[in-house]
Symmetry: C2
């Protein structure tokens, strides 16, 4: 599979934007046309999961319906509408000796994605990889294997019909661990591996991969409320960041509050959070102000709950808030609420995260919210790409050097 | 050490360009002032190596003298003269809802370098990392340990005097394998690991590292001579690429020649190469034209000789030359010699290497030749940086997002 993907990638790199876009439209249409086949495969996956006693919240992430399939198709059409980064001449310059040097934007080659239950990743990742001229190898979880195979076959057939080389979109049918481990070691064929899923999946990939990896999506995100923050607005932002979709990586997991406003702000914000069904776990100082709050353990400060739970800590000021975030955070998204320009600048400069916010919700870290288009993941590492990754992040540059017999003196 | 480097990195990220530059000048001066101490330490390393029976060609890479120390100092001054990438606002845009999004250029944090005998890497890497706002952990080979420690201490003291935080420049004193293995796993502290050395070192790092790695410097570089090439110029370029410094990663290791010109060109080029003391190993067809050429094995096509040896192969044309390069090459630097624009464009587009040349020597792949300044290595992978890596390649971006109470709808 990897060899086939590599071969396809060389052909893909040469395709015109028009060919790729018409394939993406064709793929979108094929999802609609073959809806029944997808739903049938999905039904098998759901039944198997329920029979295995998988929790209903997790089964929910598996479920496809007409509306979800139509969203997958919509995403493919949106990707078709994004600019094609491939072939862009990023820069050229001429050296004093007349040598012309340039940077040409090219695809990475072969992208492997290892992901968990959500079958819409199969379609989204295929679209983003195709648009950026990359072949993709998709290794989804066993829960969604029938859905993934059905979607993969439909997309791959539709792509072939539009002149896309065979091997561009491939779904790994074997779901045991050994297949994933082998994929992680395919250094001659896989240019980058993107894991999408929970902390355990990311850790397993980082521990075992020999191919370059882009880590994604673990978010122990913080909101820090300075003493000069607008407290009404702060409550709106905290509620949005925690409750609007608590299972996502950009949901806030921790609230840090300046000591000076804690006695006023904590009762209000904790009341509001509890009103939305959020369990609050607090530091000692928080519990002195709101006594019925559960105590937070050291472990809590490191935890990404992905649930209606929040850790609350009183801090002495900006500096200790930044230290706390850099120590316990996951370099994803963190926000300061303040009316003070200098404090905001310090926070932006010193918090070591992919996205730092001033007076806004961490939930905004998202390709579409940023205007970058559909994303294949949110990078929490510093190399190559940071934050939401879309089509342009699956490319690299190559130097081209034009001489007239130039040699090294 | 890694924790100390991480702590230093947060302070470093905030330093002004002026502070960093004056530290670099101070470091350059300190190398000159403490020349005797460095030479004394270097003498110990040379004696130990000779006593161990290390080959004189390898001992040569170890040797420092006044001129080499002055070059190290010169490199630090040059790095001071490069633009400071840190703090640059790469881009900002405003979303329809008024949210302002921007990209700020920031240091990677902590850079670890694992390298072999050359002690000048200690100084060059320290300068490039400091200028880009990164702390550096230097783990050189045991051969050069005394030189590396001496240089590291001198640079670190000079940097401290100029207000650079302690822990910015650290040399690992332990030279056994276990220390390197531990360094490769410091995920909480090391943001990127750059191995510099031979194929075995790179492989050991890729196999064992849990931190993000940028692979560098393995160069099985090709020159392809098309049938319409200017043959006089071709001989100059081939000789330069093979012989000007055969032990470097951008030296040509293979020569591919179009079948139509092989009978005319091969006797001339092989004669010229032999005139420079180069051993030629050829394919069957080459040996029909120049019978006393040694036969090349399949293994030869994969080999980076780093020596006065070249593999020569006759190919049927552009397409098979490109296929050969993509199969056997190491994605470093490859050159086409042709007068045909379309062939050059196909070569540039389809050869999957960091640097592709038209009518020029592969020896030109170098930070200074490109006008990028001193380099910390030549990346042969596609992620993050490709080709010569200088100051700007040791940075990343962070998103900053400015709202007025913006939440996710």
């Amino acid at each position: 599979m990897c060899r086939k993907a590599k071969e396809a990638s060389y052909k893909l790199a040469r395709l015109s934007t028009e060919t790729k876009n018409s394939a993406l439209y064709n793929m979108a249409e094929a999802l609609g046309k073959n809806e029944q086949e997808i739903l049938e495969a999905n039904r098998k996956d759901i039944e198997t999961s329920r029979a295995k006693g998988v929790k209903e919240a997790l089964v929910d992430r598996l479920i496809l319906n007409k509306s979800r399939i139509s969203k997958m198709a919509q995403c493919l059409r949106e990707v078709a509408g994004l600019p094609d980064p491939v072939g862009e001449i990023v820069k050229t310059w001429t050296r004093p000796n007349g040598l012309i040097i340039g940077q040409l934007r090219v695809p990475l080659g072969v992208v492997a994605v290892i992901y968990e239950s959500r079958p819409d990743v199969t379609s989204d990742a295929s679209g983003i990889c195709l648009k950026s001229g990359n072949a993709v190898i998709l290794r989804g979880g066993s829960d969604a294997i029938n859905s993934n195979i059905a979607i993969g076959n439909i997309l791959s057939d539709a792509a072939s019909e539009s002149g896309i080389p065979d091997g561009t979109i491939q779904v790994v049918h074997v779901t045991d661990r050994s297949a994933a481990l082998e994929l992680m070691k395919m250094r001659d064929y896989v240019d980058v591996l993107i894991p999408r899923g929970g902390a355990d999946l990311i850790r397993a990939v980082v521990d075992n991969a020999k191919v370059p990896v882009i880590e994604t999506g673990i978010g122990n995100c913080h909101i820090y409320v300075e003493r000069d923050a607008d407290l009404d607005r702060a409550i709106d932002i905290v509620l949005n960041a925690k409750c609007q979709r608590p299972g996502t990586c950009n949901a806030a997991e921790k609230l840090l509050v300046h000591r000076d406003i804690a006695p006023v702000f904590l009762p209000r914000v904790i009341g509001a959070l509890r009103g939305q069904g959020v369990e609050v776990r607090g530091c000692e100082e928080t519990r002195k102000i709101v006594p019925d709050v559960k105590p937070a353990t050291e472990e809590d400060w490191y935890t990404e709950y992905l649930d209606l739970i929040i850790g609350v800590k009183v801090v002495s000021g900006l500096h200790s808030a930044i230290e706390h975030i850099n120590k316990y955070g996951t370099k994803h998204s963190d926000s300061i609420l303040t009316s003070d320009f200098n404090k905001a600048l310090s926070f932006i400069r010193d918090v070591d995260s992919a996205a730092v916010y001033w007076n806004a919700s961490t939930r905004l870290t998202d390709g579409n919210q940023y205007g970058l288009g559909a994303e294949i993941g949110i990078s929490t590492q510093k190399m190559h790409a940071r934050g939401p990754m879309s089509v342009q992040h699956l490319t690299t540059i190559k130097y081209f050097v034009l001489g007239r017999g130039h040699i090294r003196e």
